[in-house]
């Protein structure tokens, strides 16, 4: 019998009821009376975003491959439904069984960006689970967090029972077994969490006390029990050809952000850009084989009926057998009338040739991400992209018929001067000029070129060489965006350059939580209680409420953002070992100051520390 948690009167009134009804093709329904463990997997944002996330799809597939486990999905109810649920007292439910989340054994939450932190509180609140881990009993699910933000989970430390640090494929089975044993033997929740804290990759905030210095920085981490390790090592999959990968992912009824087959070709990145967290925490680079990928692509297209496939990785151009993979994929896809989407590809002759071979190419726009305007600044951030690369790439693209180019930059990078900001305008102008130099008047499709230059504000992240960097204030950001605009207006081709910039307020908040500590838990809770949630959505973001929350909790924003950090400061995330040594990051920070570049992993090993995982590029260079 089909069952829904929400009554018809509610479903007919909220936007997109399909978000809440489950029953999608390939969703997994098990007999709850014969499974031992029920796991709710949550992406704390709206369904269309959450359903587009590959990590959740992998873990959903993995958990459901365990005979004793049933994994279901949960997403954040959109504010219209949130309101109704509170009015009518309807608890948050999982999509598959449509039962309250609270009835399940685990609530796993993936934490992909800082601006979902309040949505996590919404999920707990609507589920009827106490906000703070210390207030929970066996009547509540074990709340476990994963994803990139758990590389500094401290601002969320009070709200989670466990954080899983690293790739989810490796350690869950053992955790589930210990859970089963603990429940069978009727041990206390605390004792279970104590046991969990001894497993590799698992961090239990309650089992680690933090001591502070007088200036508010951290003195030391003190485990509550002697068998709880002081350092949590990240988990990783050593061989990506021998692990879980869904062949029958759930197919949503509504169009989600990623409405296509996603083929993850590799993890990690060889580049080592100094602002990029993903480039550090997913080291070392591990590739999947072409054979494995083609087999998965074939099955996934067959099992989903999707009309598009995309390659997923941090830098697809660095995949060593890209040529071979794409040629085979194009063959299969052209036959099946499937389009191939190619993000994160370096623009060169090869990629343009590939794009010409793919059928559904509307030569709309090409994207470059120089990240910084001047070569000096690109050396500081270790972005191995030169002006020449960009000009050559654009020239080829213009000759191939493209007329629109998007350029992405960051403002507020460490050691930035006005010259670097002017570089953004100069480079945009140079690309525009390249169009007029390259394409003769009679061949210009739309008559002119269109450059879209966008800047975001740099946010220093943990486990990057810039984790020591001081972040700009909101006023600095606004001034710099204004300067950029002025510089662009002064360029010869300014008429054909459109300039966009990000909101400064949200970037600041992101900066606070990215390098935050446990003292921020109370700010989060206060902001949530004031009504902050869906902060990633500008229509719901309320900066005033956030500022009030910081004020009421007497927490200084500047301490986390604009403060100078000494080389020997103990960071809130230092008990986590992501594989890359702090000494390597510090070396990189000093090299950045000197404007020295570091070669990528393929050219020369920089000795970051990841070689101890004994896999990927560290063994097959």
């Amino acid at each position: 019998m089909q069952k829904l948690a929400l009554p018809e009167s509610v479903l007919m009134e909220v936007s997109k009821p399909e978000r809440y009804i489950g029953h999608e093709i390939n969703s997994v329904v098990k007999d709850k009376s014969i499974v031992d463990i029920r796991f709710a997997m949550c992406f704390p944002d709206v369904y269309e975003i959450g359903m587009s996330h590959l990590g959740i799809a992998i873990l959903y597939d993995m958990f459901n491959s365990f005979e004793d486990t049933w994994c279901e999905r949960v997403y954040s109810p959109w504010p219209d439904l949130d309101k109704k649920m509170r009015e009518l007292g309807i608890p948050l439910f999982t999509l598959e069984s449509q039962e309250p989340v609270k009835n399940l054994d685990f609530l796993g939450i993936t934490i992909q960006y800082e601006m979902v932190y309040t949505n996590i509180l919404q999920v707990l609140d609507l589920s009827g689970i106490p906000f703070c881990a210390k207030d929970r009993t066996w009547d509540d699910p074990i709340v476990i967090g994963g994803g990139p933000c758990t590389y500094n989970p401290e601002p969320l430390a009070d709200f989670f029972d466990i954080f899983y640090i690293g790739e989810g494929e490796t350690e869950y089975r053992e955790l589930l077994d210990i859970y089963k044993e603990c429940r069978r033997n009727n041990v206390s929740r605390e004792e279970f969490l104590h046991k969990a804290a001894t497993l590799p990759g698992l961090y239990v905030p309650m089992m680690l006390d933090v001591e502070y210095k007088e200036d508010g920085t951290i003195k030391d981490f003190v485990p509550k029990y002697p068998d709880v390790p002081k350092t949590v090592k990240k988990e990783l999959v050593r061989n990506l050809d021998d692990t879980y990968y869904p062949e029958k992912p759930v197919i949503p009824f509504i169009k989600v952000t990623q409405d296509r087959v996603v083929l993850e070709i590799q993890r990690g990145c060889i580049r080592g850009c100094r602002f990029c967290q993903a480039g550090q925490i997913y080291r070392p680079v591990r590739e999947r084989s072409v054979e494995y990928l083609l087999d998965k692509a074939h099955k996934l297209l067959k099992n989903t009926g999707h009309e598009e496939i995309t390659l997923s990785s941090l830098s697809s151009s660095d995949y060593s057998r890209l040529d071979e993979l794409l040629n085979e994929l194009i063959k299969e896809c052209n036959e099946k009338k499937v389009n191939i989407a190619l993000p994160s590809l370096r623009i060169d002759q090869f990629s343009l040739d590939v794009m010409n071979k793919i059928q559904d190419i509307k030569k709309s726009s090409l994207t470059f991400a120089p990240e910084a305007g001047s070569q000096r600044m690109r050396d500081i951030i270790n972005k191995g992209l030169t002006e020449e690369d960009i000009v050559n790439g654009s020239r080829l693209a213009f000759l191939g018929g493209w007329t629109k180019v998007k350029l992405y930059f960051m403002l507020g990078l460490p050691f930035e001067t006005d010259e670097d900001i002017k570089g953004i305008a100069d480079l945009s102008n140079l690309v525009a000029a390249t169009f007029y130099d390259t394409v003769p008047k009679e061949k210009r499709v739309n008559g002119h070129v269109q450059i879209v230059t966008s800047t975001s504000f740099f946010v220093p992240k943990p486990f990057t060489p810039f984790q020591w960097a001081k972040m700009d204030s909101t006023q600095d950001f606004i001034d710099k965006a204004y300067k950029t605009k002025q510089f662009i207006m002064g360029e010869l081709n300014q008429k054909h350059i459109k300039y966009n910039w990000h909101e400064a307020d949200v970037s600041l908040l992101e900066g606070v939580f990215a390098r935050g500590d446990r003292k921020l838990c109370k700010v989060l809770l206060t902001a949530y209680k004031k009504g902050c949630f869906f902060d990633a959505w500008s229509e719901f973001y309320d900066n005033e409420k956030w500022l009030e929350a910081f004020k009421e909790e007497n927490v200084s924003i500047d301490f986390y953002t604009t403060r100078e950090r000494a080389d020997d400061e103990v960071f809130p995330w230092d008990y986590i070992d992501c594989g890359v040594n702090k000494s390597h990051l510090l070396r990189e920070w000093h090299k950045a100051q000197a404007g020295e570049v570091t070669k990528n992993c393929k050219v020369q090993c920089a000795g970051c520390g990841s070689a101890r995982f004994d896999c990927g590029i560290c063994v097959n260079r």
């Binding site: 089909q2 829904l4 018809e8 009167s9 479903l11 007919m12 009821p17 399909e18 009804i21 489950g22 029953h23 999608e24 093709i25 197919i251 009824f253 509504i254 169009k255 297209l301 067959k302 099992n303 989903t304 009926g305 999707h306 009309e307 099946k336 009338k337 389009n339 059928q359 559904d360 190419i361 509307k362």
Partner: protein, 224 residues
């Protein structure tokens, strides 16, 4: 070759919107080995046409769409092939080959059968209301439109109406020129005794879609 697919859409899947339903069937076809024809051009797509959009929240036992497929395939197997790819609540009931010169599904629709059942289990529509409606020479209904109001004789669009245990059965005009919403008829019936339709929420089940044969009869859409 063009085929006409008849399907039902009931249960929780009644919340799937029309555009999403089209995408759903396109993906379903791609999971089978049925060779569908694609349009030419930059982004090829399936040539698919639905008879009539079904509103969100409405269930149906008689929905139709046409789709063009490559010649030379065994149509008798297609119902089972498609049903192997359906979600619980949508079932393919019939797949027929369309005659060469048949009108497309959308242009063919002339009438629909609806079964209305009131949610609280009490039927406010009485036999006498139906009787009075049938006996009246004309029943005027005023519809609010974007540009104001229009009044018309609703009886011209009602081919049959009967009182049932749970509510009302009706056969009404569904042609593109005169599509009648079931709600209008319920509203008209109740208004005779000054009962407000908003006080009596109801479910709608579409039971069949009809085409008009050359001699004027109504036949289900898969009898083309």
């Amino acid at each position: 070759m063009k085929i006409r697919v008849k399907f039902s859409k009931v249960g929780v899947l009644k919340y799937i919107g029309h555009l999403d339903l089209m995408r759903y069937f396109q993906k379903a076809f791609r999971r089978t080995d049925i060779k569908v024809k694609y349009s030419g051009g930059f982004s090829p797509h399936m040539i698919m046409s639905f008879a009539q959009a079904l509103g969100v929240g409405v269930e149906s036992l008689g929905e139709y769409f046409d789709v063009e497929i490559e010649d030379g395939q065994d149509v008798s197997l297609m119902k089972d092939k498609l049903n192997a790819e359906m979600a619980e609540g949508i079932e393919v009931l019939n797949v027929t080959v369309l005659p060469e010169k048949a009108l497309n599904a959308m242009a063919s629709v002339a009438a629909s059968d609806y079964e209305i059942s009131f949610t609280d289990g009490v039927n406010p529509v009485t036999e006498s209301m139906i009787q009075r409606f049938k006996e009246a020479k004309e029943v005027l209904y005023t519809k609010k439109t974007k540009s104001g109001e229009t009044t018309f004789n609703i009886k011209e669009f009602v081919f049959d109406v009967q009182c049932t245990k749970e509510g009302v059965f009706m056969k009404v005009d569904s042609s593109s020129a005169g599509n009648l919403k079931p709600r209008f008829l319920i509203e008209s019936l109740l208004k005779q005794e000054d009962i407000c339709v908003d006080d009596h929420p109801f479910h709608i089940l579409r039971k069949e879609l009809y085409l008009r044969t050359p001699n004027g009869d109504l036949e289900p859409l898969d009898h083309a």
